[in-house]
């Protein structure tokens, strides 16, 4: 047995945290989508979900490599992805939530959660990538210029499914409605504003999250209306993954995602 890899410890400056929020949201969402591999309700959707996971993973890789340069210890994308402790991940809490009924550690997920979450996130990411295209950080702008095209396609595909389920049978509509009720409280975190956002906005690194809200809500509302769903009211609950305080699901995700690199440090295939 090899020695188990020790955790790395980042110097989390405001810009590092800003980019990690995006990188980790893409990374953990990709990990959740990949759980569908071989389990999609139809073959085409199995392929779609894993293709989207691959795009998101590619975006996460580019962002993590960039974090490695910003952070200063010379950490590469693999060490950043696999060797951090939970409190140094800064993804939106929404992407940690279970979304597949038979997830080993996460009962209660549903395909409706998956398509709904894809719509909420792809719309958010599309708006974010569009704004990041004008970032003062040339590398971040370049990553965004590529990623926005991918997010646009994800949003269109997710929108198709949300309408199909929402405007489908009584059963599909009820399950989509339940998924919306589960997801919505977590959307507040997508638009909250803190010191990380303020610094990014001031330096031209990228938009503060609250600046993304109006355009996001307009686009999401259009699809929800077509799916015969009302936009839920805003909740008081504010999730905290973006400051490193995660839901109970995060530890399980990391245990699965990191186990190989922890047990076989630097392992490649």
């Amino acid at each position: 047995m090899n020695a188990v890899a020790a955790s790395i410890r980042l110097h989390v400056t405001l810009p590092v945290q800003y980019v990690l929020r995006i990188a980790d949201t893409c990374l953990i969402h990709a990990q959740r989508l990949a759980e569908w591999c071989g389990h999609g309700p139809v073959l085409e959707e199995d392929i779609a979900l894993t293709n989207m996971a691959l795009d998101l993973l590619g975006q996460a890789r580019a962002l993590l490599s960039h974090v490695g340069r910003l952070e200063g210890q010379g950490l590469d994308e693999d060490r950043l992805a696999f060797l951090r402790d939970e409190r140094q991940y800064f993804n939106l809490t929404l992407v940690e939530q279970p979304m597949r009924r038979s997830s080993a550690h996460a009962p209660g997920g549903d395909f409706a959660d998956t398509v709904l979450r894809n719509l909420l996130l792809a719309t958010w990411l599309k708006g974010l990538w569009t704004r990041l295209g004008a970032s003062a950080d040339a590398e971040l702008a370049a990553i965004a210029g590529k990623a926005v095209k991918e997010a646009r396609y994800h949003q269109q595909h997710a929108g198709d499914w949300v309408v199909r389920l929402g405007d489908g049978t009584a059963e599909s509509a009820a399950r989509l409605h339940a998924a919306l009720e589960r997801a919505w409280p977590y959307t507040r975190e997508m638009f909250s504003r803190d010191a990380v956002d303020i610094a990014a906005e001031a330096s031209g690194l990228g938009p503060a999250r609250d600046a993304l809200r109006d355009a996001w809500l307009t686009e999401v509302a259009v699809v929800l209306a077509e799916a015969r769903l009302a936009v839920p009211a805003e909740t008081a609950f504010l999730s905290t993954g973006t400051v490193g305080r995660h839901s109970e699901h995060m530890g399980f995700i990391l245990a699965e995602m990191q186990s190989l690199q922890r047990q076989y440090p630097g392992g490649r295939w």
Binding site: I47, A53, L57, G58, A141, I143, A147, V223, A225, E226
Partner: protein, 176 residues
């Protein structure tokens, strides 16, 4: 031969070698046809090839870089370095006319102009953001009576369609 002419011929030889490097996932077209080779530069006695990836998560990226490096070394042009450039982002509009013809002959419908797709998306009524692919012509029989079966396909760059005239399924290279 003058130094300038020698340099030009080395760069020409490199481009010619790149014509023979297939895309590993769509081997009907070369990396040059695909428009992912952004520049070939000479540094001293070495060659630098600048590539741009197609999709962020394209699993062929590393294979392509290695194939390019090996092809140029085999052509006697080494040492070779391969670098990546993200901006401006790759678009299917950079696929050459020859590449489009090869895709078509291979049974893959080439993409419509990305600008056309973007304009069509912008012109959609406010009530929908959903995918409405533009007219896709069957690469086998030329019919315009086709429909999409799946938004995603066997690789990140393709969707699956079928022809309602000849009843054959075919892949469509998505415009981005």
């Amino acid at each position: 031969m003058s130094a300038a002419a020698a340099r030009a011929s080395r760069i020409d030889a490199a481009w010619a070698a790149l014509d023979a490097v297939p895309d590993p996932e769509v081997p009907a077209v070369s990396v040059r046809d695909l428009g992912i080779v952004r520049a070939v530069l000479e540094h001293g006695d070495g060659i630098e090839v600048v590539l741009t990836p197609t999709y962020s998560g394209c699993p062929a990226t590393e294979v392509i870089a290695e194939s390019v490096r090996q092809a140029l070394i085999d052509a006697g042009l080494g040492p070779v370095t391969v670098t990546h450039r993200l901006a401006p982002p790759w678009t299917t509009d950079w696929i050459s006319a020859a590449g489009r013809a090869r895709l078509q002959a291979y049974g893959i419908a080439p993409p419509c102009a990305a600008a056309t797709e973007t304009a069509a998306a912008a012109a959609r009524p406010a009530g929908t953001i959903r995918i409405r692919p533009l007219r896709v012509v069957c690469p086998r029989c030329g019919s315009e009576q086709t429909e999409r079966l799946s938004a995603f396909g066997s690789t990140a760059c393709k969707a699956l369609h079928r022809c309602l005239a000849c009843r054959e399924p075919f892949e469509y290279f998505k415009p981005i």
